[in-house]
Point group: C2
Chain length 633, copies 2
Amino acid sequence: MAESWSFLDAFEPNFRPLVVIELAKGTKEETIKWFTKRIVDKKANGGAQLLVKPLVTESGDENIYLIGASHLRLLLGAETVGLVKECNDNSMRTFTYSSRKTFKDFADDNHNFLTMAECQYIIKHELENLRAKDEKMIPGYPQAKLYPGKSIVRRLLTSGILVQIFPLHDREELKKLRQSWYGRVKVGYQPLDEIRCYFGETIALYFGFLEYFTFALIPMAVIGIPYYVFAWEDYDKYVMFATFNLLWSTVILEVWKRICAIMTFRWGTLLMKRQFEEPRSGFHGVLGINPVTGREEPVYSSIKRQIRIYLVSLPFVCLCLYFSLYVMMIYFDLEQWALDYHEENESNLSNLMLFVPSIIYAVVIEIMNRIYRYAAEFLTSWENHRLESSYQNHLILKVLVFNFLNCFASLFYIAFVLFDMKLLRQSLATLLITSQILNQFAESLLPYWLQKRHKKRMKKRVCSLKTDTDLSLVEQVNLEKEMGTYFGTFDDYLELFLQFGYVSLFSCVYPLAAVFAVLNNITEIYSDALKMCRVYKRPFAEPTANIGVWQLAFETMSVISVVTNCILIGMSPQVNALFPDAKMDLILTVALVEHLLLAIKFIMAFVIPDKPRDIQIKLARLEFESLEALKQQ
Amino acid sequence: MAESWSFLDAFEPNFRPLVVIELAKGTKEETIKWFTKRIVDKKANGGAQLLVKPLVTESGDENIYLIGASHLRLLLGAETVGLVKECNDNSMRTFTYSSRKTFKDFADDNHNFLTMAECQYIIKHELENLRAKDEKMIPGYPQAKLYPGKSIVRRLLTSGILVQIFPLHDREELKKLRQSWYGRVKVGYQPLDEIRCYFGETIALYFGFLEYFTFALIPMAVIGIPYYVFAWEDYDKYVMFATFNLLWSTVILEVWKRICAIMTFRWGTLLMKRQFEEPRSGFHGVLGINPVTGREEPVYSSIKRQIRIYLVSLPFVCLCLYFSLYVMMIYFDLEQWALDYHEENESNLSNLMLFVPSIIYAVVIEIMNRIYRYAAEFLTSWENHRLESSYQNHLILKVLVFNFLNCFASLFYIAFVLFDMKLLRQSLATLLITSQILNQFAESLLPYWLQKRHKKRMKKRVCSLKTDTDLSLVEQVNLEKEMGTYFGTFDDYLELFLQFGYVSLFSCVYPLAAVFAVLNNITEIYSDALKMCRVYKRPFAEPTANIGVWQLAFETMSVISVVTNCILIGMSPQVNALFPDAKMDLILTVALVEHLLLAIKFIMAFVIPDKPRDIQIKLARLEFESLEALKQQ
């Protein structure tokens, strides 16, 4: 079976492997034959019309296959997925094969017209759209049922026959990217366009947001420094600082939308039509007719899902939140107890005891976070969402709320129940700095070190001392298939979201927070870049037009921060001194200012257009042209 | 010149007049010839390919022309404007002439496939899209300049040669509509689909909203009655009532979006693609290239417009608001002075004097409203918006803010500065009831009476005692051209908006407000219907998918009402009695409740889907089909 499976092979002598498929060891011959046949078969016969080559390893196993495609096939695929590319007249248009000559840099022999990430995305799309015809089950596995229209790859994945599909790294490209990204110490922008070409839009947008957010924090950091240095404690300075922060956080979130529109317009994803979403692989239900497509597929009643969401998930999440608050109260009791103990019998031991509650609490929070994450994933999966996007949104919402409470509940308690501003400042600093250090370590440096050790061992085993670029294809595939999988930008955004909370929620108490955030983000860019390039398997590119639900999350946080900051300012002794005998007037004034600030926030968000004028004009021109074209028909 | 101008006349023996054009008396022969030629000319020659007939009146004047169109021309026009119609398989699709056989009720000889309102809309669209070719000016009027692509009709209107264009009533249809709408006293829904067929979607949607809003107010009214009857004054009952109102007002606004989607889906306007908007007739600027269309047209810098908006209009509006508040303060001073005078020397005269300030204030407010309306129209027109829609939005915003302040400032002052709940209740009742009575009178009954008198005089002049349906065409046109013009739904929505304010802003003080609102709206439906059918010229139909900026206005009002109601409840003596020695706790509790309610409001608005599930599925199916069609190509 070492021959190539492609019937197009004759026309494409230089087979370029793009995607790796790993089947389970001992997969039946019959299954492999059927699957690879479907991959190379003509479109008309329900195949994907791609190229397949088995990878022969020294052990003689044949469970890894390399997938490629002819240049023509990729161009046709680009049309299918609806890629948007730049034309010769600098406008962005949906690529079609028939109009290919009008596109910039297109030439029949220019194989770089599509980026490698795009090619891999196309192949992934084609593989996932390989659909069962009249097969009732996967050949060789009678228990793995199929129905007409079911995605074969998804069925193979859920039944465990297919272990993984991943795109190959391009050693040359990666080296170049690493060089320009973090290879030399330099101050400047990241090569976002190159990142996008290599890793796709979702990841490039994350790094774009990270960079933008860091720059946006600099004014806050710069203004915050003198407060620390000169120990300014005048209330009017604090009011100014907090007001600036609040309006600034609105502005940066609105401006981000514009910058995001500029970037995704250049990348073509702003214009890309959303493809019809197929059910996610975990979705199950009674076989029925999908009312949208008219195709036969599992159907699950939306009412049942609503019941599961509102009667099970929602109470469960509330219970978890309550439990988390309960744990926090125990922590504060312990803390008080340790303090009392220390005061009564002062000794080295009692001094040490002071740290015990914090350590226990930190460990418990970490454990709770993990357990909750599993529970949230289980519940969201049990809710049985038809679409991956809806699954993701529900999962993000669940995790976000819990993490928000876990991170900030103790700070809220200290601020608004204990009224202890000094303790608040201390806790805020401790939480912010330790979480940042721990994150950087756990997220990038530790995996990097493990990965490096593993690689060394692997290299020793294959007895070669070649550099990365000299690795043979077999060695490269073997190395990469063992690398960890990057599960998307969720955790990275979550980290930024919590950081934004630390910076904005209590900004008037601890002006230095922004400084630490900026410092952290600068190293974060480097460690995240390292993670993407060195630690994880290359992820499939995912076209996207914006940061989605995270925009909403950040905006909600900035609304909450208006409320907290107003209360904090109202509680400060300096402001209280202004209203010596009229606490009521003080509270009313604070409430009034808060409502005014919120009103200004909403008006600003409404007035600042989401897209810059030139993008608006370009979009309008495209719409106008398509209307004109319709009239011409 | 009494012959018909249509070259298609031979094929269309039964000319059905749809639209009337009135030219200025004494318009030059040359101009008429050129204009009518353009109207009847073939599309290929830049004409509108419509039918024209002069209307010969007894005085022999020839300044009125009737416009019609062949059935085929109207069907082609329906395709041009992108009408969406129901197909035989009950799906909604954009009408195209080539696929005409697949549409429900289509037959080549069925001239009712398009409603008369749709035919008139098509003709209006075609007339407005008659564009200058190489004419440098309107023939016969060298001062009325033209440039290639300028809408001829708009130029004729601005230069005063064209007095008006309006669609003709259909006496038969109108009689039927009147009969089913308000002809007999009945309880039930309005014939919205018939209204839509006769007057178009914008007006039908207004009546749909009015009806929906009235029904939605009934629960509030029903719950409010016992409060009045039993004179309930317990605070917990008030809190319940206010809380119910607040959540209810959120729910009804969200549900309206769903109902609106159902209606406009059935009417096809939900799916209708927005046409490219041409500049409004008042727009002026230096001749340049429009960046969207690439056509030559007047161009006006957006920065200049922004400067005018933010540096002139905004300060002016703020000044007017300030002035309005100032007038209000004078009113309260006068009121106080009258009261003092009455107390000092009690007499009949002094008793009469008590009413003087209110009367003066009412008159002054009315005058201010009118002057401000003119100023707002002038300013918005001076801001030189390119699009009619953007002009309308800016005008609505300006008028809305001022009217809101004028109507509610005195109530706010009484409630939150004077703390006089009794006076608040009194003022609220007086304002609500008098404004409703005045509105109904000024808006419909007065014009109806004037119109009726005018009609009688007209009929006497033509010396006929025929009933409406027997009127000759000449008589009908002469009658209708003198009727008032309906300037859109703005004032009707404004009235509803202010009513919503009276009902929701102070709902916990005056539970009867909803009762009066319901009673008013029931008669409002009848008087507005009368107005549409009897008083005004028939308006052109205007396809629309929603109530636009009014949805936002109503939602903003319901947010403001959360704040006011919370404060009112917090100020009530019963609640104050609950916190005898802790005013601070009271205020904090109120603030907490307010924030909770606002949070619940936003979450509810987020959770309730804007479109019902079956509409979502139908829209998704259409999108899926168009994606599939693209793939097939």
